[in-house]
Amino acid sequence: MARLLPKKDAVIIGLGWTGSILAQQLTDAGLNVVAIERGPWRDTATDFNIGYMQDELRFAIRKDLFLQPAVEAMTMRNSLSQTALPMRDYGSFLPGNGVGGAGVHWNGHTWRFWDSDFEIKTHLTKRYGAGKIKDLQLQDWGVSWSEIEPSFDKFEYLGGISGKAGNLKGQIQPGGNPFESPRARDYPNPPMRMPYASALFADKMKELGFHPFPLPSANLSQAYVNPLGVRMGQCSYCGFCERFACGNYSKASAQTTILPVLVKKPNFEARTECEVLKINLTADGKHARSVTYLDAHGVEVEQPGDMVLVCAYGLMNVRMMLLSKIGAPYDPVSGKGVVGRNYCYQTSAGARLLFEDKHFNPFIGAGSLGQTIDDFNGDAFDHSKLDFVGGAGISCTVTNGRPISNRPTAPGTPRWGAKWKQATAEGYQNAMGFGSQGSSYPVRENYLDLDPTYTDRHGRPLLRVTFDFPDNDIAMSNYLSDQMEKMLKPFNAKYSAVSRLRKGWNSVPYQSTHNTGGAVMGGDPKTSAVNKYLQSWDVPNVFVIGASAFAHNAGMNPTGTVGALAFWAAEAITTKYIKNPGALVPA
């Protein structure tokens, strides 16, 4: 029999980026909020010690800050014809854990999807005809650029994002991204200082007639005070960024931007090391009453709430909906149902260049430090004569020179022995690379559901990921590889190679932790699980906030858009919902 606690106005599942933004906005509006976080409390002051953060083995290889598969794993298969098996260790993607979630140890790339992304089906149909996209399950998001733009601004100013605007209210700005959608104002901080490799890349791209610009970065170029009065430091280019927590307050996270203000509020409470098992609905299944969680001692507790916000990371959001029976599960065979639909990932390839007698100093890096071009991203280029849609950003980022993982050698070099050593000593300072990070478009057969065989430590079914790269995306990625091959020449490297993506997504080597979709937002309850305000169509006092809402993934990192959606949903809740609880959009 679960221990029953007094009701709260809002119960938030997960205290990462979205949970913190929602908690901050809702407590400001006067609501009594509790955030229930499965992982531990973490903060710079107590856990991100500048004396031992520089430990590649512990944090990058043994993944100390990440979610442990023993706590929650997932199963995977490429297609319906395979049997899904558990990823006994995470490889291809690494979910976060604890307060701040993956926002603690992310790279910090902070993008805005384009206006064409939010209306992608309309846009591509108009430009190329419906036949071009008939094999893809693309759909509009139900929200427009002008509606969402202010929320991007809020997230960027919250985090102190460092960059250079490319399009200010329609005016193209030199040095910025000419392909971005119009912004009201520039970034709150100027771009970071560039290392040699990225500067070289930018020069060559300009020579080739492309439009390089600095990556919009949540590693701050200078000390900053955000609109909440919280202060952040200046990035010192330490090279222990992604997979690591920041030791000097210079990477935007819930800890460095929101929590100092949020935790002081009398109407906010965080409970850590408490795992929410499910959301409890009323008998008619139309209203959430409470959540049930296991506290750190394994005692079952029931926390009632007037509303429940699912902020547990996209994949876990979807699993929570399936376990709690919120929304009809998606069936890839019939195409019916919505929860699990339109799961997408990221489609990437890369170029490696090896020189002689250079000093790239790869250890001088940061998670989002680099230069990039969007000339081949999204629909920025004409696809009329091409057999695919979508595209990729091509970036030269210098994130680290950590030698367990980063010791490049010429192709064909043995992986051990005397020759390996020689090549490694020579290659370390002489290597650079750039890569394409491409869009991932939905198809009927890529989806999420509950595994029929494997369970977690509490006996609940694991999430099952059924995914392979669609033919469209393979074609897109190979086209990008073609472009990258053409880009190699001006560099005049001694060795160079470009990778090519093939079918058969492999869950083992790390690729990207950009898992999107599964509880997508939209205007039609037949093809979306949440409405334009990220409110469940089926259970109006449940909102599901995260990349689970993406109807597709663009050729960009998702966090900027996730942050914007969090502010957007918060605004809907505080200005519309609490005045008049109920469905904000007629079903």
Partner: protein, 391 residues
């Protein structure tokens, strides 16, 4: 006599502007919560040089608090250190300072205290060992160790100066930490800095090096209000004083405190610079670059988040307790409405040897124009032992 009336008139003048919350404001000035807890129910242990004291429950609870006190009882406690029945309070309760408060202010505080929520919390206050557990000794103390808190007999000072004098030497009891003590525990030498069980409360005189000589009155106001200014950041016990007390004082009072402090004659300096410490300076610079520069900057200037080390009084005190302690154990800065972040210095004691810490601190104390005595490995070793033994 004339002077007391003069001062009392000021006290009344300043607090009458806050008639609604006059009593509550007195509690902020006096930082009652600092010792008696946020809900004033006591039970907090204080380590004194004479042993452990536990603070009493001062909520109006009749069984476990001061619900049976009269207004006179309260006044006697505040100004004479007497509890009902002739029991004497240890001057851990800073009654020698509160003695300066006007009757009006004490009365306002008493009114407000009676409206506080009564809390049942039974506290055993007398935890000192013989002979210090004999409160009768306090009678002697009161006679022979009179408070050296100066009653200002100065003429020709501004209203703000007098208000600041009243606050600093009265309810805000700054000297309780910042004035060095005699063996009997009374103040000697006003506000020139004092060791307090593992911290060093800095010199507040106008010495340009170790004191506030380089600070403007606006700097002092900023510091007390937000916990930080361009020169320094409040952490440790001062962080709590800022959070509980000074950040909630009104601007006029903060300015008054600043005016008064800026007028204190300079102390005798900090005994610096270090001499014959070239080896330490070199090793210290290397250690600084590796461990410290990423936050405090290679130029020692800090940034919007981290305090500078150049010209930071905390770095320049004659005694190095605070800086050794923060390097070994870490510390967290005050978090106020004006500066909510509360950035932390991480604990580096696990990583730095005593010699490494001593070298880095000697370098910090003598670089960028700083001049202060060197720090020895023996000092670091001793302080490390004290910290770990909980003394």
């Amino acid at each position: 006599m004339k002077q007391v009336i003069f001062v009392a008139a000021f006290a009344a003048l300043s607090t009458s502007a806050f008639a609604d919350d006059a009593g509550k404001y007195q509690a902020i000035l006096g930082d009652c919560a600092g010792c008696h807890g946020k809900d004033l129910s006591g039970g907090v242990t204080l380590m004194t040089p004479f042993g452990k004291l536990v603070t009493p429950n001062i909520t109006p609870d009749k069984d476990t608090g001061i619900g049976n006190y009269t207004a006179d009882d309260f006044r006697a406690a505040m100004k004479q250190g007497l509890a009902p029945g002739g029991k004497r309070l240890y001057p851990a309760m800073p009654y020698p300072y509160y003695a300066r408060m006007s009757d009006g202010d004490v009365a306002a505080l008493w009114s407000w205290l009676q409206t506080v929520k009564p809390v049942k919390n039974s506290v055993d206050v007398n935890q000192l060992h013989f002979p210090f557990n004999m409160r009768i000794m306090m009678a002697g103390w009161s006679l022979f160790a009179p408070s050296s808190i100066r009653v200002s007999d100065v003429v020709g000072k501004s209203d703000a100066w007098h208000r600041g004098d009243y606050l600093v030497n009265g309810p805000a009891h700054c000297g309780a930490c910042h004035s060095p003590k005699t063996m009997l525990g009374a103040d000697k030498g006003p506000l020139t800095g004092a060791v307090l069980q593992g911290w060093y409360a800095p010199d507040l005189t106008s010495d340009p090096n170790a004191g506030l000589g380089r600070w403007s009155t606006a700097d002092i106001v900023d510091y007390l209000k937000t916990g930080r200014n361009a020169h320094s950041i409040a952490s440790g016990p001062m962080a709590e004083a800022v959070e509980n007390s000074s950040s909630q004082m009104n601007d006029a009072d903060l300015t008054a405190i600043a005016v008064y402090l800026k007028d204190l004659p300079a102390s005798h300096g900090n005994g610096g610079p270090a001499t014959g410490a070239e080896a330490q300076m070199k090793a210290g610079k290397d250690g600084y670059d590796i461990n410290c520069a990423a936050c405090h900057g290679p130029d020692g200037k800090g940034n919007a988040l981290f305090p500078p080390l150049a010209a930071n009084p905390n770095v320049l005190q004659v005694r190095d307790n605070t800086i050794v302690r923060v390097v070994l154990a870490g510390t967290r800065a005050a978090a106020t409405t004006g500066a909510p972040t509360g950035p932390a210095m991480p604990s580096l004691g696990w990583k730095l040897s005593n010699q490494q810490a001593a070298d880095i601190l000697t370098y910090v104390r003598n670089n960028w124009g700083n001049r202060a005595p060197a720090v020895s490995a023996e000092t670091v070793e001793r302080i490390r032992g004290e910290l770990h033994s909980g003394s």
